[in-house]
């Protein structure tokens, strides 16, 4: 969608206004659905409960604007960038805007979810429309006061001006504006006229963060609150048999020891789709204490006996099973173009490689935790969760309470990466609170968090290309994964549609280890595998690796295909940009470059990694990253996102893995699990393609391509192709270097 022209929207009103008892005007709106006609916005601000609207703007008598940001903040900056869209069209100085995290509970709100890099893409139009509609109402009110037509007024920076040069502030007309009908037609700004969108804007919580104010779930406290530490099975496949809590109860500060599990299981029995059912199979022993430390100590003092309930799995057996599956015949075909079989039969050369990746925990910096208080009046929940809507529904079902009784307040989140899409920790907190009838906070330790996770599953790919007369004639990708395969549109990502004969097949092995979405789900390793393969393919074909991609994309342009979601032009654009900005092919001796390009989460990205060898080890010095994500709403926040994605991607492809032995995770804290640290971090040089296309996400798409950029650079330095992650543990450098 091109927005270079002004647009006019005419649709049923999706917002409501009301005058506030405390003075000022409240604009209530539902982001993605039109409001129902029978709901009324609250008159008193303290009554905000988001039952029918999922976002609010308050304009006070003094013209100050408060935006209740509807989306949970996990570090991707939407708490800043989404209000920027409203403020832009409302046309107020950003300094006069206050942002508050909305208290969100239940029923009618939509997409109150942070994940999939979708927030800004979906909010782009409705949020701007909301701002523009509110501005129009203020202008209409001012025009009525002056007895002139609204078209004779101008509004900018919170001030409305008439042809005589008289002015009224927004605050001067809020009372009248609140009573007007909501206009149906509003004009959105020409992107050329943006004054907030596209400007560097600091994180709205910056002052609180740098002074250590309570912001996160773990910081939340309430009068009379107690702490809970949960003992869960040490191995996947085990359940609780019995326990002895004598020693725990004898500790000072320990209040009680209870068992939970029944309610979550009862709920999950009816919910076949649950991703985290494995985590709720066993009963769990919970130590309730006056302090976090007493709870943690109490848990350590519990003597529990566990029994095997299903197979205890190991990485070694997973490796064998997945390789056997790749070599077998039991595949689902996800996409099939032309005749791959024939192309391979007629080939005079075939290139085939297998790529392997381990399980990964999310390791959010803030361990899982949640506050719950279950009383006859309501169920009060506070904490960091990416899916409050789902969590509220499950809790109402678990406790057999009305959805209106569930009041869920979201806190800032110390990282998400997909982990907080799953509400298992919310259900635990609720079950504990229901048992002990006290306000309680469930706190996981790092060990709990890493060993009872919802992991990125181990995945293996076998990729093969057929070559005839020096030309690429066919491409066949097979995926074998633990539990979950790529889905939906992913088999239509590049290189789909670029080749006449193309096939993607998947197969999976069902494990009792919990798996789920992890930053850039489905593609975080796929891109590494495919883009490493293309590097080797170009070499085999004796063509330039960059040119190979440009040519394949040319094929897509010449044979347009409706199922293809990526834009070949935009992919070519980022390729050319990264070649230019990285000095591709023109670096100093001793610097080795690797190239990679990928499309996912609606964003097009190309990357070049520069590495040098130091003491026989590859060191990533710099990554140049070209990104086409449409309009960059907040360049400062966008830079953080892009750089974070790249460095996170390098860390996990180089260093991180979670192995299993007899069902037990073999790492449980940062002494046995390696996360990237500053000394291993390259400088990331980011370039955005400038255009006026509606914005797309940035939290995820820069991560998938970087693994291959690094692997391809290491190949140039060492002559060794890396196919197994984490690379650092799977490269035998002595043999190839020196």
């Amino acid at each position: 969608m091109n927005l270079s022209k002004q647009q006019t929207f005419s649709r049923r009103s999706f917002l409501k206004t009301s005058a506030l008892a405390s003075g000022g005007m409240l604009i209530s709106f539902n982001l993605f659905t039109a409001c129902k006609s029978d709901v009324k916005p609250p008159i008193d601000i303290s009554q905000l409960n988001f039952n029918d609207f999922n976002a609010f703007i308050k304009i006070s008598d003094e013209g100050k604007v408060t935006i209740f940001s509807p989306n949970p903040e996990i570090g991707q900056g939407v708490k800043t960038s989404m209000p920027m869209l409203i403020a832009e069209e409302l046309d107020v100085p950003w300094d006069d805007v206050y942002i508050e995290q909305g208290v969100l509970d239940t029923e009618n709100y939509t997409r109150q979810l942070a994940g999939g890099s979708q927030s800004i893409r979906l909010g782009w139009e409705p949020l701007r429309q909301t701002g523009a509609t509110a501005k129009q109402m203020l202008v209409n009110a001012a025009a009525a006061k002056w007895g002139i037509s609204p078209s004779e007024c101008k509004a900018s920076q919170g001030v409305i001006t008439n042809p005589k040069g008289e002015t009224l502030g927004y605050g001067d007309v809020v009372k009248e504006a609140a009573l007007l009908d909501v206009p149906e037609d509003v004009k959105l700004k020409d992107p050329e006229d943006f004054t907030i969108i596209g400007k560097n804007t600091s994180n709205v919580d910056i002052d609180k963060i740098i002074t250590g104010k309570p912001l996160f779930g773990l910081d939340y406290k309430e009068e009379g609150m107690v702490y809970a530490s949960v003992l869960r099975p040490p191995a996947f496949g085990q359940v609780l048999e019995s326990f002895d809590d004598t020693a725990a109860r004898a500790l000072s500060g320990v209040i009680d020891v209870v068992v939970i599990g029944e309610k979550a299981r009862a709920h999950l029995e009816g919910d076949k789709k649950s991703w985290t059912a494995q985590l709720s199979k066993s009963d769990k022993v919970v130590v309730i204490a006056k302090t976090t430390w007493a709870a943690i100590k109490g848990k350590k003092a519990i003597k529990a006996v566990w029994k095997n309930d299903s197979e205890l799995e190991s990485t070694e057996s997973h490796d064998k099973i997945l390789l056997d599956l790749l070599n077998g015949e039991k595949f689902d075909t996800r996409r099939k173009d032309g005749n791959v079989k024939k192309a391979f039969a007629n080939a005079d050369k075939i290139l085939e490689r297998t790529y392997e990746s381990p399980f990964l925990p999310h390791n959010c910096m803030e361990p899982m935790n949640f506050f719950a208080n279950v009383t006859p009046e309501k169920v009060h929940l506070v904490g960091p969760v990416q899916t409050p809507e789902d969590a509220a529904k499950v809790v109402s079902n678990m406790l057999d309470r009305k959805l209106e009784d569930i009041h869920l307040e979201m806190t800032r989140m110390g990282g998400g990466f997909g982990r907080r899409l799953y509400g298992d920790f919310v259900y635990e907190a609720v079950e504990i609170a229901d048992k002990i009838k006290k306000p309680v906070k469930m706190v996981s330790t790092r060990e709990d968090d890493m060993t009872t996770g919802v992991y990125r599953p181990a995945i293996k790919y076998k990729i093969a290309a057929s070559i005839k007369d020096g030309k690429l004639t066919g491409y066949h990708l097979k995926e074998a994964a633990v539990n979950i395969n790529m889905y939906g549109l992913i088999p239509n990502f590049f290189p789909a549609a670029a080749l006449e004969n193309y096939q993607v097949d998947t197969v999976n092995y069902q494990s009792n280890i919990t798996t789920g979405a992890w930053r850039a789900p489905y593609t975080n390793f796929l891109a590494s595998a495919e883009q490493s393969f293309f590097d080797e393919l170009a070499e085999t074909l004796e063509v330039d690796r960059v040119q190979l991609h440009l040519d394949l994309l040319e094929n897509v342009k010449n044979n347009p295909e409706p199922n293809i979601e990526y834009s070949p032009e935009r992919l070519q654009g980022v390729i050319k940009m990264v070649v230019d900005k990285s000095n591709w092919g023109k670096t100093d001796p001793g610097v080795y470059q690797g190239f990679s390009v990928y499309y996912c989460h609606n964003t097009h990205v190309a990357e070049v990694a520069d590495i040098v060898m130091e003491n026989g080890n590859p060191v990533v010095k710099k990554v140049t990253c070209a990104v086409d994500c449409g309009v960059v709403v907040n360049p400062l926040g966008a830079l953080n996102q892009v750089k974070g994605g790249v460095i996170d991607g390098i860390g996990h492809t180089m260093y991180s893995e979670l192995a299993f032995k007899d069902g037990v995770p073999q790492s449980n804290n940062f002494n046995s699990y390696q996360l990237i640290r500053m000394g291993q971090t390259p400088q990331v040089d980011v370039h955005f393609v400038k255009n006026n296309i509606a914005p797309t996400g940035l939290g995820e798409p820069t991560l998938p391509p970087v693994g291959a950029a690094v692997a391809n650079a290491i190949y140039k330095a060492t002559g060794k192709r890396l196919t197994k992650q984490p690379y650092i543990s799977n490269m035998d450098l002595e043999k190839v270097v020196g």
């Binding site: 740098i210 002074t211 773990l218 990282g415 953080n640 804290n669 990237i676």
Partner: protein
């Protein structure tokens, strides 16, 4: 349980806790200073960094009994109002993503710059190596430490 007298952010606090309680939990649960964060509990991540007599220390490894008689500074006491040059540099560069690790990063950086106000790039990278940022805001942290060093010297 025993009674301990602590000096935190230039104020005296008396707490009644088990003597093996890490300073981290005393700060968070007993004194309501929640700016100091829990990340790993084993000295590996730096989220819990505070200053003890001016040196950066992991409060998750320091038992309350060892902290008596020392002068402890937390993120809340680094400045009255966020005006410490390191805090200002963090704001200028807009370092935080999720923000959870950042008070630990700021405490490590400020103790380091106190001892070396004109550090080289590699000294900065070494000094900050012990603090994990899961959001990988490392480029911004590095830049902010440099900006802070300029402000200080």
């Amino acid at each position: 349980m025993a009674t301990f007298n602590l000096k935190i952010n230039n104020k005296k606090h008396t707490v009644e806790v088990d003597e093996d309680t890490p300073l981290l939990w005393v700060l968070r649960d007993h004194i309501d200073l929640v700016g100091t964060k829990f990340g790993c509990g084993i000295g590996q991540c730096g989220a819990c960094t505070v200053h003890v007599d001016g040196n950066a220390m992991r409060s998750c490894l320091l038992q309350v009994s060892q902290a008596e008689g020392m002068s402890i500074t937390t993120i809340e006491g680094l400045s009255e109002d966020g005006s410490h040059p390191v805090q200002q540099a963090w704001k200028e560069i807009d370092v935080p993503q999720c923000g959870y690790c950042q008070s630990g990063q700021i405490m490590t950086a400020s103790a380091f710059l106190n001892q070396n106000s004109n550090p080289s790039n590699s000294e900065i990278r070494d000094a900050m190596h012990g603090n994990i940022c899961r959001c990988a805001s490392y480029n911004s942290i590095e830049k902010a430490v440099k900006v802070a060093a300029d402000k200080i010297s």
